[in-house]
Symmetry: C2
Subunit: 253 residues, 2 copies
Amino acid sequence: MRRIMLRIAYDGTDYVGWQKQPNGLAVEEVLNKALRDLTGEQIEVIGASRTDSGVHALDNVAVFDTESPIPAKKFSFALNRRLPNSVVVRSSCEVKPNFHPRRVNCVKTYEYRIFNDEHPNPLNRRYTYFYHHDIDVDAMREAAHYLEGEHNFVTFCSAGAQVTTTVRTIYSAEVIRGAGYDENCIIIRLKGNGFLYNMVRIIAGTLLQAGTHAIEPARMAEIIESRDRGQAGPTLPPQGLTLVHIEYPEGNR
Amino acid sequence: MRRIMLRIAYDGTDYVGWQKQPNGLAVEEVLNKALRDLTGEQIEVIGASRTDSGVHALDNVAVFDTESPIPAKKFSFALNRRLPNSVVVRSSCEVKPNFHPRRVNCVKTYEYRIFNDEHPNPLNRRYTYFYHHDIDVDAMREAAHYLEGEHNFVTFCSAGAQVTTTVRTIYSAEVIRGAGYDENCIIIRLKGNGFLYNMVRIIAGTLLQAGTHAIEPARMAEIIESRDRGQAGPTLPPQGLTLVHIEYPEGNR
């Protein structure tokens, strides 16, 4: 029995999220089906990030155990032939049999994309949040700075989360305008050791309030301290959010 | 009666193309319906570029005549409230009553995007052509250079085109790697006074042959001269193609 790790990209638009739900198709179900077709085994993957409905990934991680003789590196190609083109396995490798992608320290990078123009762009509408009022990116950047470090981020956590602690560390919180092809795209990039339920989308909504001068950037410090969800901004919609990378320390797998 | 010009962006994935077809929904039909709902008039738009099924636009142009009192600049907002989010009117203005978007000289810019990586990326699959073998961008650029200038481009024209002449001028033919967010994206950008049926997609297929060393870059000169479709490369699929801009000389409208 070997444990195989997959790195997976997906367009979350047409899925109910990573995790199985009664109301539609989940990304993990699509992977399980492809793995069962390929190996004949009743495989259930364990995912690193259980992304919400409509949220995308360029690099989520999942592991599974198999008796199959397929070389570890070949799983990506064999699975991609069996997956819809909205889900792609970018790489596959063998990991230690006890490696669990949610029980090992890691660094996750999320990006939230805002498309800031007079009219929406149909070619990025699935992957950005459209916002047409002027945005002051410098004010967003100043507000984002307060997020860096170890904090109790309960302010930015939606109800319904099951966690033992709401303390997390954000290593960097960047706001970039014109990243990529489109000068009107604003990217909020957060790198941290973990994120609470809806945390990135609520942080994005709060930074946008700073960007529209609805709040002063320095208010961010008080908002974090308040530990009151009512002090933060709205939860921005899922299509702007992409899990772009998960980094595990080499020794841990 | 006024003539109004619209600049339109659309995601061509789910359309049969610009022009009405028996087998599905066309972009012009969606615009006509929105205009009829808005004005109560039996409007039929005249489009500048009749893009094929699956081809996208960031800036196609259409005109229509109306008795409606709506200010010319307000049509974009009023129409966008009535259009599906795959079609967006970016601007609207009044033009001369005899302005016809296909009978006036203009400069059109098309981009063909190739995503060159080991595995496809689900977040750009609708807007790029995935190609996984190594590509020599310098060789593509060298081959592209031969396209610039006035030529008879019949080599790069699919059968079935109804045109009086196959002579066109390409003002610039650029090949750019890493344009935009993704380093693995190669963009072929052609600027010209007009393009024949499937011309950009056949040119892209021929440049890709240069990029994979299937042909020498200098062969491009002979391929153009041959006036033989069989000498050129394959027609690449529509999803990589986007009409990015149409420029009309100010005096002509």
